[in-house]
């Protein structure tokens, strides 16, 4: 409402704006255009190039719809477009930011592993040492196993020897006892022993009596 009031209050400015909206640079060419335009319209109507009929009403209704529609929809459309533009821009900016962050992260990651060569060398040394220690441990383990084996073999040998000796002694004792028993069972020996005993007794008695 405010612009229309302004237009009413300043008809001179309004007239100027209408004149300015016409094509041409000077007032003369503008007048020329108006004259030619009016003439052409008159000619097309008089020569029946354009015929006023019911289609003209349709044309008027069409224009009557299109112009207000354009005026009403222009602002919401522009707002909607700006919103969309903002959305697209924000998506693009966000993508750019994300990309930047990703690149920075990557750079940082790479920076952190900048002394990777030294670390690798140290790791290699450490692994070498570990391998060496492993080998030594294995060697010692093998030695311990061999010693245990030898000990077991020797122990069994000793046990065998001991049992063997024990059996031999037992056999010898048995043999001696057997032998003595055999001799004792022999009558001749028994007689000898008896004689010997009698002699011993007589000698003892004699010595006592003497």
């Amino acid at each position: 409402m405010v612009p229309s009031n302004n237009q009413h209050t300043d008809p001179k400015q309004k007239a100027h704006s209408i004149i300015d909206s016409l094509p041409g640079n000077s007032l003369l060419t503008k007048t020329g255009y108006i004259t030619v335009g009016t003439g052409l319209v008159a000619l097309t109507i008089s020569k029946e190039l354009y015929v006023f009929n019911e289609e003209t009403v349709v044309l008027l209704a069409f224009i009557g719809l299109i112009i207000p529609l354009y005026r009403v929809l222009r602002k919401p459309f522009n707002e909607w477009f700006e919103e969309q533009q903002k959305r697209v821009n924000s998506v693009l900016d966000q993508a750019q930011e994300d990309h930047k962050t990703a690149v920075k992260d990557r750079i940082n990651n790479i920076g952190q592993v900048g002394d990777i060569v030294d670390i690798t060398k140290a790791l290699f040394e450490m692994s070498k040492e570990t391998a060496k220690l492993d080998a030594e441990a294995f060697e010692l383990k093998q030695k311990a196993t061999v010693a245990a084996e030898i000990k077991a073999v020797l122990d069994s040998w000793v046990r065998y020897e001991a049992s063997l000796r024990e059996r031999e002694q037992k056999d010898l004792a048995n043999y001696v006892i057997e032998r003595v028993m055999t001799q004792l069972r022999d009558e001749k020996t028994q007689q000898e022993i008896l004689n010997q005993s009698i002699q011993d007794v007589e000698r003892i008695v004699n010595s006592k009596t003497a």
């Binding site: 009403v57 069409f62 697209v88």
Partner: protein, 255 residues
């Protein structure tokens, strides 16, 4: 008062504008009719509209036309997503082509002194039969003989199967006719109404001094009717692709 009322259906007449005479083949004629001319114009507008949208260097940032096209694309993708349950995305280009073609044909028909292509049953029925034939071929290709299970709703008693197959087959085939007739009938009725109202308005305006003074009233009414027709033009294009997507879903998922 002289009262000349032209036949309101005259506007849909197909007129031969150019023709190539082929004397060797007397039965074959290659005419350019007003229908063909407007189809060519619509084709040109669709293609140039797409080409123009890619002209600005910074795509998507300062290009309101491209943003508009993108939002229409997004709208149609949502439509297909909501309608087609299985692998509907590969049919989006077809849906978009159909929508843009029908919408532009409808909108071009609204311009005064122009011709409404979609008011021709030959064209809309051609489109709808093509759609039905296409989805049927898709269904047969995807499901083979099982496609015909679309004619038997789940849980039908065995006794009713023969009857239902006949009914379902008729309703399936009737889709082709209803889809095309819906579009054409809407366009024809709208334009006929506009024509009748405009004829009466013209007679009212030219009939008397009162008519000249109060002539703006029928023009206002006609403008309101025009707004309605604009809505119908957009809605019918939407309905056509919505039903196409729904038919597509039917044959892809077999209910």
């Amino acid at each position: 008062m002289l009262c000349i009322l032209n036949n309101p259906l005259e506007q849909f007449e197909i007129i031969k504008l150019l023709g190539i005479d082929a004397p060797l083949l007397p039965l074959i004629e290659l005419p350019l009719t007003n229908l063909g001319l407007y189809l060519l114009i619509v084709l040109g507008v669709v293609i140039s509209g797409l080409v123009i949208s890619f002209i600005p260097a910074r795509i998507g940032r300062d290009n309101s036309w491209l943003v508009t096209l993108e939002s229409i694309y997004g709208f149609l993708v949502n439509l297909v997503d909501s309608q087609v349950a299985i692998a509907g995305h590969i049919y989006i280009p077809a849906i978009i082509a159909l929508f843009s073609f029908i919408l532009l044909c409808n909108l071009f028909g609204l311009i005064p002194y122009s011709y409404t292509v979609t008011a021709q049953f030959a064209l809309t029925l051609g489109l709808s039969f093509t759609v039905l034939l296409g989805v049927t071929i898709l269904g047969l290709q995807r499901h083979g003989v099982h496609f015909f299970s679309i004619l038997v709703p789940a849980g039908t008693p065995l006794v009713l199967v023969p009857l239902l197959v006949v009914i379902e087959a008729i309703s399936y085939l009737a889709r082709a006719i209803s889809l095309g007739v819906r579009l054409s009938a809407n366009m024809i009725s709208g334009h006929v109404l506009l024509k009748i109202i405009s004829t009466f308005s013209w007679q009212f305006i030219t009939g008397s001094i009162l008519g000249v003074i109060l002539g703006f009233l029928p023009v206002l009414f006609l403008t309101a009717l025009y707004a309605l027709e604009l809505g119908v033009a957009i809605l019918q294009a939407y309905v056509f692709v919505l039903l196409t997507a729904s038919y597509l879903n039917d044959v892809l998922s077999l209910h």
